[in-house]
Symmetry: C2
Subunit: 308 residues, 2 copies
DNA sequence: GAAAAGGTGACAATTAACGGCACCTTTTAA
DNA sequence: TTAAAAGGTGCCGTTAATTGTCACCTTTTC
């Protein structure tokens, strides 16, 4: 077997192993120790990340379990990937901060020179003036891993000690948020990631919720009608505005030609709601409740008051 | 270069071409005709589908014009790609509408079963409540290609016939926009993609701008101070709001502890500016000009008036 | 029918690949 | 403390793959 083919076979051979040593290669491929070592060097040059340990209990381990197969992308798909990666780079802060540039580089290296030009050209042609996260979010990765491991995080949130069981991470309006149940405060809530401090992952505790219970809490939270219901009249542009700047726990309700925005608020979300309604300008009119109408009018008056 | 590496390079080199001949390989890789033929045989053995034509106008053609890439991604990078692809799917409408799902599928198929689980889990954990484009944008692809080909598009824009030379496509506030110079109206502007009708690509015309001229026009447009300058006082939350909802052609100016938002507007952008300022709520106060102050106050009064 | 493209076979020259060996470093178990 | 077991390096002769050249073939097109 020639070297190039053997290397491919070795990749497959190794892909399902976490650990191996020279003997494995020597026996499986009928090669000398010297060649096995040379092959390992070649594989590393191909990008395989290996960690070697010397000593009696030594051996090799795959640092990353890698994606090893060939993938066929047509030119449209290549363009699409680069488009996506560029969009992600604009976002600046994601759980995968460092990865996007590396991916772009690896992919770009594997393109023909002329196609590289195409990619760079289309990167220049399209751009995202999107909402980059303003605050620093050092815990995005930790939070995501906590969700995946179904573990807990202990942190300070607005000065309060919380023990959170997070279940979803999401991006909205330039902020990273996560939905979590607080085992200390016994409440489900959406937390802003940038308002966490001293965040650490923590092993499970006895009173941790099961996944089903957690989803149940989230459902209760999202369909919480214990708050005050509201009803807001939208014109056509108002509907459009809502669709472009959608908030959870609000729905459009159509009654013939007329459209209402409905939902409910709690004291905790009251201020947010007023800020949000301001962005509708003339395209929304609060119908009920009176409390919301009054506060909204007061807010408008306060803004006007700045100029008197 | 060794054969095995050369074959990989040749794959990359050929992936871009629909047709090629032996000369191309010989020249590009500095090999003899005999070796080029042997390489082609090797590539076919690797699975590349080629069709050969003898005779004076002969050559080779790729039967499947796919890009053959073999890339090693670590688990972080795989997760990052899926993250990016999911974000793009949320966006619903991009120049690459159909591609993202296909890419996800192809990649997913190439992962070990255990890793597929991980990917699906992290897809469930993270999500983008982002601003999907509301309007249908059938011309995104055409516009992007027009930019890349440096060609023109003829279309109807708000009932007006325009002949546009577009130079950049971008996404902002749930809308796809593109920057273009109108050869009929002789003006540079940002156009909303969803407001185009009967859009067709068109070959160049004599009075088309050079790329440099186009960039110049864009620069003039962006730094257009012919409009009315404004000056708006921002508190801390106002600054944050600006950074999260940034508009082009506006800057923050710091004077000691005090921060102003400055820029300029034209009659065409006046209404947009007022809508935008509304979103600042109490966190912004217009200093100058008086015209803007008055109109803003009138807008507030009009909203208040809905309730009387 | 000549030119230009792809294609084959043979052979000598080159060079990459290989195994073997001596010897080094690190770790660990006796 | 020492020996064994693991990875690691340098050197060298042998072997086998790779390459270029050359002569000659087939097909297509001008």
């Amino acid at each position: 077997m020639q070297k190039s083919e053997r290397l491919n076979q070795e990749l497959i051979f190794l892909s399902d192993k976490k650990r191996f040593n020279l003997r494995d290669l020597m026996d499986n491929f009928q090669i000398s120790k010297r060649t096995a070592l040379r092959d390992i060097a070649s594989l590393e040059e191909l990008g395989l990340a290996l960690y070697a340990e010397a000593g009696r209990a030594g051996g090799y381990s795959l640092i990353q379990e890698d994606l090893l197969t060939k993938i066929y992308f047509n030119s449209d798909e290549v363009a699409a990937i680069f488009f996506a990666l560029k969009a992600m780079e604009q976002l600046k802060e994601t759980p995968f901060n460092e990865s996007f540039q590396m991916i772009s580089q690896k992919l770009l290296k594997n393109l023909a020179a002329s196609r590289q030009q195409q990619v760079l050209a289309s990167q220049a042609a399209v751009s995202f003036f999107n909402t980059p996260a303003v605050h620093h979010n050092p815990y995005l990765r930790l939070l995501m891993e906590s969700i995946l491991h179904d573990s807990l995080v202990r942190a300070n949130f607005k000065g309060q000690q919380v023990l959170l069981q997070p279940c979803q991470l999401f991006f909205r309006d330039g902020n990273w948020l996560f939905a979590a149940y607080d085992l200390l405060g016994q409440a489900f809530w959406n937390y802003r990631c940038d308002q966490l401090q001293n965040c650490t992952e923590q092993a499970a505790v006895p009173n941790k919720l099961s996944l089903a219970e957690l989803k149940q809490k989230q459902l209760e939270f999202e369909h919480d009608n214990s708050g005050q219901e509201f009803r807001i009249l939208l014109n056509h542009r108002g509907q459009e505005h809502f669709l472009k700047n959608r908030y959870p726990n609000m729905q459009l309700e159509h009654e013939g030609e007329i459209t209402y925005l409905t939902g409910s608020y709690t004291p905790r979300t009251f201020e947010y709601l007023i800020d949000y309604l301001l962005t509708f300008g003339l395209n929304a009119k609060i119908i009920t409740p009176e409390e919301l109408r009054r506060s909204f009018k007061e807010r408008l008056a306060a803004i006007l008051d700045q100029y008197n």
